[in-house]
Amino acid sequence: MTQVKMTVNGKAASGDVEGRTLLASFLRENLGLTGTHIGCDTSQCGACLVHVNGEAIKACTMLAVEAEGADVKTIESMANADGSLNVLQQAFQDHHGLQCGFCTPGMIMSASALLKDNPKPTEAEVRHYLDGNICRCTGYHNIVKAIMAASGQDVSALAAE
């Protein structure tokens, strides 16, 4: 066992892990941050996407020990301080960008990273960026709409319901 220390959602966090423990497992099992989901074992689905030092990272692609000293942000940190949904989360609710909710934390973390780099993405840019996030429920239609709406674009004319 090795002790790792990092900052998670603005707070100091530490725990004892095996060398093989993934960051995704550390967040879920050691810290109880179960909003980060695990949907596959080949780093394809993106349900475990978090931010590490400001970068979008699939938490299954990183060992917990590799995150030593890092600044990690998970879905649990995304709402406004008063607990209300942030602009992106609110757009997902407004545009029905989620159904079962399992891919949703990864989608939100991925989309927020996109909007940081590209504040007004086109439809094609959104779809391309989401290649690492699989959703099986929505057919992506309302996810793409929600992300574009969150960026301040008028999506009402984009597609008929």
């Binding site: 989360q89 989620l98 399992f102 699989i134 099986r136 057919g139």
Partner: protein, 787 residues
């Protein structure tokens, strides 16, 4: 003007708040004190004699609590099958034993052989590697037609062959159907494959078993669409636990699509092992395990023929289908290619004579069962591909041929034993032609051709049957369950109420849509209504959610229970208002006396029910809580017409979906936003089946597509925005809401449109190809174009 609440409003989903903030409570988020973890050692051989499983070295590995093998389960029941088919000779299907852990033989790659329970998952996995398994490999049977040949290796030695059943429907019609083919002016024949799929809800399956030695109570937390069904099947048939000592909880469930209906070995194992180890036992499926252990879907091989008269009227239809059951019978597997498939072969057409033959076959593959649509996508794909082929052989417009043969009068009794109550197939086709902008297609085709691409347009219609029922009929057809739904409405003293429903939400938004119905009925705010589901301890016996049944059946039960509530509340109100019960009206959350200004608020009545000081105690009991079980008198029949436009790159065979339009008739709509979302998701899965998804085995029974690296599912960049419309509404005539169900339509209606469009694109490039099997991969398209 859109409504802002009640039936017909696009109310935002209340469940979204927890899902968007990481506060959902999925089964893998549940960790119990003292819990141990199980890892299943699974067969990497498709078919073999299991000579021995030596766990001695593994037993002493660090952290190991206990190791189980098939020998530990010989006194335990078989994983049950919930539907018995009677074949065309009047014989019941062959039904093999399905052990919790393999015993004597292994029959598919992924079958669990041993289970290691350890302090950590890592330790369980490490110990599993130290188990010595001795298997004598046998020839595997993978191809269905080979499997039913004389002398083929048998998947189950104690069965007479690999043929589960040979079903004929309607057997009495067969001679008349054959005669119609002899008399036909034209016959179109098509042979096709409905590719094997894996449902792939994004949440892998999880089971946590718990046992309280002090009370003898078992609890199973599981990723299920129907916790009561699991409780009954596992308790009564596998482990012998009476229902009052077994609680099954299915909390937030991350998608199901059918694959979480069934009772699986891992659920029985964790429940059994929790008692044997006297501590909670947790299993979390990896995605690779999911591919090897979740029931697969589809996998039909079909020959279908249509007979037409000289005026292009359909006169008869006949089909021969081989349906893969896999190595064992999953919970509802036998019903899928029969009653959920044969009964839909009329489609939207007035074909007077139909005969369907289905041979269900055991193979050394993962069991196959219901996946989104379950039988109806297979029926629709065959029929709608066939009708397109008819049109091209006859040189007529595919839409015109469909319109000519549409059923136009309702109710309509099909020759395959079902009665469609309502529908308007002309209206949905008219709507489709409008929203798909058929008029603009030729201009778009020219644009594509200017880029060196081919463009194709394809349509199809569909009919489906939702809300499978009634119980007495399905019992005659072989169901070993009733198919009603239940609801308890508990009104609290201060007027808020809780609906405890047997339906289960795993993405469908029941927590939002169900309150819309009750809010409308009583005239109170939706926020006063809470939905409880997914726990056998606090919901009435219910059959769960699948087959687009939640609102049509579960919603109807809720309406019936609420009607009882309102009836009792009116009695209380009449007492409070000192008026005749018949004069009491409920509107906008208040009871009033007709023709007067006397009224009493909803909350005053509910308070009186629980604080019955001024109350007619001699006539009615205190309290306000009612339960209803609703058993529908018929299926519901949603229908629609879909159109797909593709662009095909003749250089590479790559196909892109450029436009997709869906015109559906779901009857009445409670929440249009949710309905659109259901259609979007169904379309995406249908496009996935048509273009890329394929669960592939090699001839030795090795699963070639066991991860997301190998099994292709649509990503955002593979799909366009869809145009969906559900303004054509012919309400269901036999349920109180007039709703039909919308969950599966997209997956049923989209594959034929895609394939029809691809073939149209090829034709526009001068390549007249009769058929191409799904998935329509670039390799297959290129080969067809250049073959």
């Amino acid at each position: 003007m859109p409504k802002d609440g009640g039936i017909g409003a696009s109310s935002k989903r209340r469940e979204d708040i927890r899902f968007l903030t990481g506060e959902g409570n999925y089964t893998d988020d549940i960790n119990l004190r003292g819990q141990a973890y199980v890892f299943f050692l699974r067969s990497d051989i498709a078919h073999g004699t299991l000579n021995s499983v030596d766990t001695s070295a593994a037993e002493s590995m660090p952290g190991v609590v206990k190791i189980f093998t098939g020998a530990d389960f010989t006194e335990v029941g078989s994983i049950p099958c919930g539907w018995q088919i009677t074949d065309k000779h009047g014989e019941v299907m062959q039904e093999p034993r399905h052990p919790v852990l393999a015993f004597g033989k292994v029959r598919h790659v992924g079958e669990p052989i041993a289970a290691v329970v350890a302090e950590t998952l890592g330790q369980a996995r490490d110990a599993a590697e130290a188990i010595e398994v001795d298997i004598s490999e046998l020839p595997a049977v993978i191809d269905m037609k080979q499997a039913v040949k004389e002398g083929a290796p048998k998947v189950h030695d104690d069965l007479t062959s690999n043929l589960c059943y040979d079903w004929g429907f309607v057997e009495e019609n067969k001679a008349a159907v054959d005669k119609a083919f002899e008399d036909a002016h034209h016959v179109t024949t098509l042979e096709l494959v409905n590719n094997r799929l894996v449902a792939n809800p994004m949440e892998p399956r999880v089971a946590v078993g718990d046992y309280a030695r002090g009370t003898g109570d078992h609890t199973l937390y599981t990723t299920s669409q129907n916790p009561h069904v699991i409780r009954l099947l596992m308790g009564a048939f596998v482990l012998g636990i009476p229902e009052h000592k077994l609680r099954v909880v299915a909390p937030d469930v991350g998608g199901g699509f059918g694959t979480k209906i069934f009772h699986y070995q891992e659920e029985a194992f964790c429940t059994f092992a929790a008692k044997a180890c006297n501590r909670p036992v947790k299993w979390t499926s990896s995605r690779s395990e999911a591919f090897m252990s979740d029931a697969h879907g589809r996998d039909h091989v079909t020959k279908i023929q249509m007979a037409l008269d000289a005026d292009n009227n359909f006169t008869a239809l006949r089909t021969d289908t081989y349906a893969n059951m896999g190595a064992y019978l999953s919970t509802f597997a036998p019903s899928v290619p029969t009653w959920l498939h044969g009964t839909l072969m009329a489609g939207n057409y007035k074909t007077p004579l139909i005969y369907v033959n289905v041979k269900a076959v055991f193979t050394n593959t993962v069991p196959v069962d219901a996946y989104r649509g379950a039988g109806r996508p297979e029926a629709t794909y065959q029929l709608e591909r066939l009708v397109d082929k008819c049109a091209h052989e006859l040189g007529v417009d595919p839409i015109a041929l469909r319109r000519q043969n549409f059923i136009t009068e309702f109710p309509y009794a099909t020759p395959v034993a079902v009665e469609y109550d309502t529908g308007d197939y002309i209206a949905t086709m008219d709507k489709l032609e409008e929203i798909a902008d058929i008029a603009g297609f030729e201009a778009r085709r020219k644009e594509s051709e200017a880029k060196g691409k081919l463009r194709g347009f394809g349509v199809n219609c569909y009919i489906e049957a939702c809300g499978i029922a009634p119980s007495n009929l399905v019992g005659q057809l072989g169901a070993r369950a009733g198919l009603y739904e239940s609801a308890t409405v508990r009104v609290n003293a201060t007027g808020g109420l809780v609906v405890m429903t047997g339906s289960h939400s795993h993405g469908q938004g029941h927590e939002t849509a169900f309150p819309q119905v009750i809010a409308e009925m009583i005239g109170i705010d939706e926020s006063m209504i809470e939905i409880v589901h997914g726990d056998t301890a606090n919901t009435p016996m219910g059959m769960g959610t699948y087959g687009s049944r939640s609102l049509a059946v579960g919603g109807s039960a809720m309406v019936r229970a609420t009607e009882k509530i309102i009836a009792k509340a009116k009695k209380i109100a009449s007492h409070l208002l000192e008026a005749s019960e018949g004069d009491i009206e409920l509107k906008d959350g208040a009871f009033s006396v007709a023709g007067t200004d006397k009224s009493v608020a909803w909350g005053d009545v509910t308070l009186a029910a629980y604080v019955p000081h001024n109350y007619p105690l001699e006539d009615i009991e205190p309290g306000l809580e009612e339960t209803a079980f609703y058993d529908p008198s018929n299926f519901t029949y949603p229908s629609g017409a879909y159109a797909c436009e593709v662009e095909l790159d003749p250089e590479t065979g790559h196909v892109t979906i450029e436009r997709f339009a869906a015109a559906d008739d779901f009857g009445n709509i409670v929440n249009p936003m949710i309905v659109s979302g259901q259609v979007h998701g169904g379309i995406a899965q249908g496009i996935g089946q048509a273009l890329m998804e394929n669960c592939a085995y090699d001839s030795d029974g090795q699963l070639l597509s066991a991860s997301y690296m190998d099994y292709a599912m649509p990503r955002a960049s593979d799909l366009p925005f869809y145009t969906v419309d559900h303004s054509c509404q012919t309400p269901c005539t036999h349920n109180p809401l007039g709703v039909k169900g919308c969950g599966e339509a997209g997956a049923i209606g989209s594959p034929p449109a895609v394939v029809n469009a691809v073939l149209d694109a090829m034709r526009s490039g001068g390549k007249n190809v009769d058929h191409i099997d799904m998935p329509v991969t670039p390799q297959r398209v290129w080969a067809a174009m250049n073959g």
